[in-house]
């Protein structure tokens, strides 16, 4: 059930025409369709049928696994697909009628964070888990190839240290949220990480924001700290955010505690974090 909530649609971005991507040579023999005609026939079928047809024969298997075919198929079937996590260590790629097209394994302990730009972003958001000792992690996964790329999220210290009574106390984030976006003007992929810290003793929450510029081949270059917004995003691991046009939108924290603490009437419902300018904007109460 939770998986349905997490579902974020994305569409495979394919612009090339099927004709231009055609690579299969014609090999005619009596009564057998040439492979380039088979290409045209199979491209009409839904994705699930195609996978089933890989068991027909070797040429059909290599044809339907060919990137040119996959591109042509995506161009022919431009309906957006949905990614949902319904089980541990696995996400489902589904069509809009809920039919499962593909199951993509994800690394252990990871939770689906975001699917955008044809990629899936998963992260281990719960660092408080005592029974596993690896720290925070984040992966980008290409559902088409199942290739995953681990982003180094422990390369810097974002422990939060404050003076507490007569001693300094340092905290690890209680959990982190990740979102993948692209700067439209440059096409550069960026990952936003929101780390949430909870000071139980102080009854106070803090958040830190970092943006990673992702290299084309995968793997990060460098996380940059970015200014914290005036308002906190909702401190909830289910508040995964939505990426739209280079900005990530999170539901704002609307708990009474924060509203009171800010002593303001214009507490926002949504906080928008721009991946390009790394700036933070708020959308005031326009949603009801």
């Amino acid at each position: 059930m939770d998986g349905e909530k997490e579902a974020i649609s994305f569409s495979w971005s394919v612009m090339e025409s099927r004709r231009n991507t055609r690579v299969v040579a014609t090999a005619t023999s009596h009564g057998v369709l040439p492979l380039d005609v088979v290409f045209d026939v199979l491209v009409c079928l839904p994705a699930k049928d195609i996978c089933r047809l890989r068991a027909i024969c070797r040429p059909w298997r290599s044809l339907t696994s060919d990137p040119a075919f996959i591109k042509a198929h995506a161009a022919r079937h431009p309906e957006p697909l949905i990614v949902a996590q319904r089980k541990r260590d696995l996400v489902h790629v589904m069509d809009l009628s809920g039919g499962v097209i593909k199951r993509v394994p994800i690394p252990r302990w990871q939770t689906l964070m975001c699917s955008h730009l044809g990629l899936i972003c998963v992260g281990d958001c719960d660092t408080s888990r005592s029974y596993h000792d690896t720290s925070r992690s984040c992966y980008l996964i290409d559902p088409a190839t199942k290739v995953s790329c681990r982003l180094d999220v422990n390369c810097f210290e974002d422990r939060l240290c404050t003076s507490y009574g007569d001693h300094d106390e340092c905290l690890d984030p209680a959990f982190s949220l990740f979102a993948l976006g692209r700067v439209d003007s440059t096409g550069v992929y960026k990952v936003l990480m929101v780390s949430c810290f909870t000071y139980a003793e102080l009854n106070e929450d803090q958040q830190s924001y970092h943006v990673l510029t992702v290299n084309g081949a995968g793997g990060g270059t460098r996380w940059r700290s970015t200014a914290s917004p005036e308002f906190l995003i909702g401190m909830d691991t289910m508040n995964r955010g939505v990426v739209l046009g280079g900005a990530v939108y999170y539901l704002a924290d609307d708990s009474e505690f924060h509203t009171q603490a800010l002593q303001t009437d214009n507490t926002p419902d949504l906080i928008a974090l721009s991946t390009s300018r790394q700036s933070i904007g708020v959308l005031s109460r326009s949603l009801s």
Binding site: S17, R18, R19, N20, T26, T28, G31, V32, L33, P34, D36, V37, V38, D40, V41, L42, V43, C44, L45, K48, D49, C51, R52, L53, R54, A55, I56, C57, R58, W60, R61, A75, R76, P78, G99, V100, R103
Partner: protein
Amino acid sequence: MEVDKGKGEAEETRKVAEADRDTVTLKSSDGKLFEVSKEAAARLSTVLAGMIAGGSIDDNGTDLKQIGSEALENVVDYCNKHANSIPSAALISSSISFNTAPFKEPEEWERKFVDRLSHDALFDLVEAANFLGMERLLDVTCHKISEMMKGKSPDQIREVFNIKNDYTKEELEEIRQELAWAFYDD
């Protein structure tokens, strides 16, 4: 006399038509001749359009050695029906910029056109359409064939497509396991 006069007029019209060359004559692999409107041929077939533009059309019948008479008859029939049908906006746009246009569902008459064909005739026609670079006809025929595949078992599909199963038993089992989910209806 009346009849003869009528014939004469028809003859005259045909001569004029030939002089204006608004049709092309195509010759099938078994030597049968078919006439088709030049405009429709050029519009619907990239290969014929190229031949017409390049002047390689033979007035006595352009040899299409790869295409049998039954398939060529269907090709010509399709061209004529296409020329006669009121072109919808969808078809106009698909014939102009097909490469980038999304697939358009077959129109009612196109569906009927392929539905009446036998299995062999359909497969011959799809090859002819492929050979002649007839995008729309190729789409309509491929769509029909893909519909024939739905709900068929791998064995049935191999039979329809005359395909030899070149997997070993072990490999097939491996694939079935790898793609097990694709064989369930969830």
